[in-house]
């Protein structure tokens, strides 16, 4: 198995695998699954925030939010392209999403109920996403790693904007606004720390992904790192994180935290979260209602190439 050996050696050596290189089927499938899931998350993730574009409270915030959601569409685009280099078309991936075979990040199955949710998504959700994604910038598959570098740069800009929006409300706003921010934090905190996935001992695919250099850091390690960073930011912001067991552990040099309700996590993954059906329905509706547009564009493109064929 010379190909396999060469592949393993390159992985061990920390080289990038490129799209035209030989790779094991399972590696290819794992990557397609992960990259497309990531792309789907960007696309579905446009919905909860997009929900507030028409209601943004100032024109500046409207512009920032529009630009952010547009960036998420852009991330979806690079990621679909990266996955396409592995031989699966964007339409195939979208079909997998719409049929329910492919997943997207479960966090987007929670509703955005107030304007503060938009800021909190920037701060906590994008913050957790970056924590997850930074190691992927060193992932063994080149096109994915390169897409992630650009994604992470933009995400960290979004995170700062989200935090700044919250800070404005907390520092300069009214009591009603501060209540709104705290309420949003209360609702998003636990789902955010679930974004790192199940505990390491219940994460069956992690070992293989680590071996292949697709995953670089474990779920629990990333979660701890996120919590440690976020506690400090929450203090600066003046909000309380809704976990009474959250406290500094001098010995571990980390924050201890309360028990995560993994039943909720798995229930949402299983399709029973507050917005699972609506998110998927919104995507399917946009896709189905846009079918005639895509068909028209293809028909027109075909007509443009026909004369050339005839001339040939």
């Amino acid at each position: 198995m010379k190909l396999q050996e060469r592949f393993d050696a390159r992985i061990d050596n920390g080289d990038f695998i490129e799209a035209k290189d030989w790779m094991p089927d399972h590696y290819r499938k794992t990557l397609v699954r992960q990259i497309s899931q990531h792309a789907h998350s960007e696309i579905v993730g446009m919905l909860p925030e997009g929900n507030w574009i028409s209601r943004a409270p100032t024109l500046k915030r409207k512009a920032i939010l529009l630009a952010k959601v547009q960036d998420e569409g852009g991330h979806g685009l690079y990621l679909y392209s990266a996955a396409e280099t592995l031989g699966t078309s964007r339409d195939q991936m979208i079909e997998a999403l719409h049929s329910g075979r492919a997943k997207y990040s479960s966090i987007f199955n929670y509703p955005t109920l107030t304007w503060a949710d938009v800021g909190v998504i920037g701060w906590l959700v994008d913050g957790a996403a970056i924590m997850n994604q930074v190691p992927i910038c060193r992932c063994s598959f080149g096109p994915y790693a390169r897409a992630m570098i650009r994604v992470c740069r933009e995400e960290s800009f979004h995170q700062r904007q989200g935090y700044e929006a919250l800070l404005t409300m907390m520092e300069k706003g009214t009591e009603a606004q501060r209540v709104m921010v705290q309420d949003a934090v209360n609702r998003w905190w636990w789902p955010s720390i679930m974004m790192f996935g199940p505990p390491d001992d219940q994460s069956p695919n992690s070992a293989q992904s680590m071996r292949w250099g697709i995953k670089r850091v474990s779920n629990d390690e990333l979660r701890q790192k996120f919590i440690d960073a976020t506690v400090e930011q929450a203090k600066l912001l003046g909000v309380t994180l809704p976990d009474p067991e959250l406290k500094w552990n001098e010995e571990r040099q980390h924050y201890d935290f309360g028990k995560i309700d993994w039943d909720e996590f798995f229930n949402v993954i299983a399709g029973n979260g507050p917005c699972n059906r609506e998110r998927l329905a919104a995507r399917v509706k946009a896709w189905d209602e846009g079918a005639w547009v895509r068909e028209a564009a293809m028909a027109y493109a075909a007509k443009q190439t026909e004369p050339m064929k005839e001339a040939a």
Binding site: I43, M46, L47, G50, I53, S54, R55, A56, P57, T58, L59, K60, R61, K62, A63, L66, A67, V69, Q70, G73, G74, G76, L77, Y80, W115, A165, T168, M169, K172, G173, T174, A176, Q177, A282, K285, A286, W287, E289, G290, A291, W292, V293, R294, E295, A296, A297, A299, Y300, K303
Partner: protein
């Protein structure tokens, strides 16, 4: 603070509000596609256009506040103004419709803005001229993007052609308002602030004629219908746009965002 502001509606302020409000409301409508477009590239393109329009609106409303000199900033105008003081053309407030409707409206408005901004580059007011210098480039892109889609839809499938034709029947008659010059236009023309909108009609008709010809769509006859959003008499859609857009500012008096 959440009660509506009273705007001093001098001709110059009205002229500017017509521009700023038209950009804002069109941006609001186009932004509704974000996350719901027929393909991802269009989600991005439409969000980008909405962003350009919101940006143009911010610049013009801020400038209108300076001209009015009553201390109103862009957000006072956008979020604390009554419907009757909004001065956008009616065309931009119509619900977003299907993609053909949006593409046609964008072609009509992109073409209009392109010529308006082009003329405003020679405004006697250097600030407005500077805003126009940036905006005209954006409008050119909006026009081109919509025109490309017009051709694709006009020569795509039977359905796309049927939908584009329906959009023409629904939208075309709203174009008359764009060019119905009045005392506000005369004042802007006289002071050199900007063109009479009626003076943009020939250029608009020429461009739209080309786009329609390229799309294989006939230009309809003129009708006697004249919408009146520019003078603050809007369609019944406008109230719902504002209820949604202004809700937070209205419900959180004294808020800082």
């Amino acid at each position: 603070m959440q009660a509506s502001i009273r705007v001093t509606l001098t001709p110059a302020v009205q002229y500017l509000l017509r521009i700023g409000d038209t950009a804002l409301v069109l941006g609001q409508r186009i932004a509704e596609w974000t996350g719901h477009a027929p393909q991802l590239e269009e989600d991005i393109a439409l969000a980008n256009m909405a962003l350009d329009l919101v940006g143009q609106s911010r610049a013009v409303l801020t400038y209108a506040g300076a001209v009015e000199s009553a201390g109103h900033d862009e957000d006072d105008f956008a979020f604390l103004r009554d419907e009757r003081d909004y001065r956008n053309v009616t065309l931009v407030e119509l619900p977003r419709g299907d993609f053909a409707f949006t593409v046609l409206r964008n072609a009509m408005m992109g073409t209009f803005f392109r010529h308006l901004w082009d003329a405003l580059r020679s405004s006697s007011d250097p600030e407005l001229a500077a805003i126009a210098g940036k905006a005209v480039k954006e409008a050119r892109y909006h026009q081109q993007h919509a025109a490309d889609w017009m051709v694709r839809l006009g020569h795509g499938t039977d359905e796309s052609r049927r939908r584009l034709t329906q959009a023409m029947a629904d939208l075309w008659h709203y174009s008359a308002e764009l060019f119905a010059s009045d005392a506000i236009d005369e004042a802007a023309h006289a002071s050199g602030l900007g063109p009479r909108w009626g003076d943009l009609k020939d250029a608009w008709m020429r461009d739209m004629g080309e786009i329609l010809t390229a799309s294989g769509i006939a230009m309809p006859a003129e009708s006697k219908f004249l919408s009146t959003g520019k003078s603050g008499v809007h369609s019944e859609h406008m109230g719902f746009i504002l209820a949604e857009m202004q809700y937070l500012q209205r419900a959180y008096p004294g808020g800082v965002w």
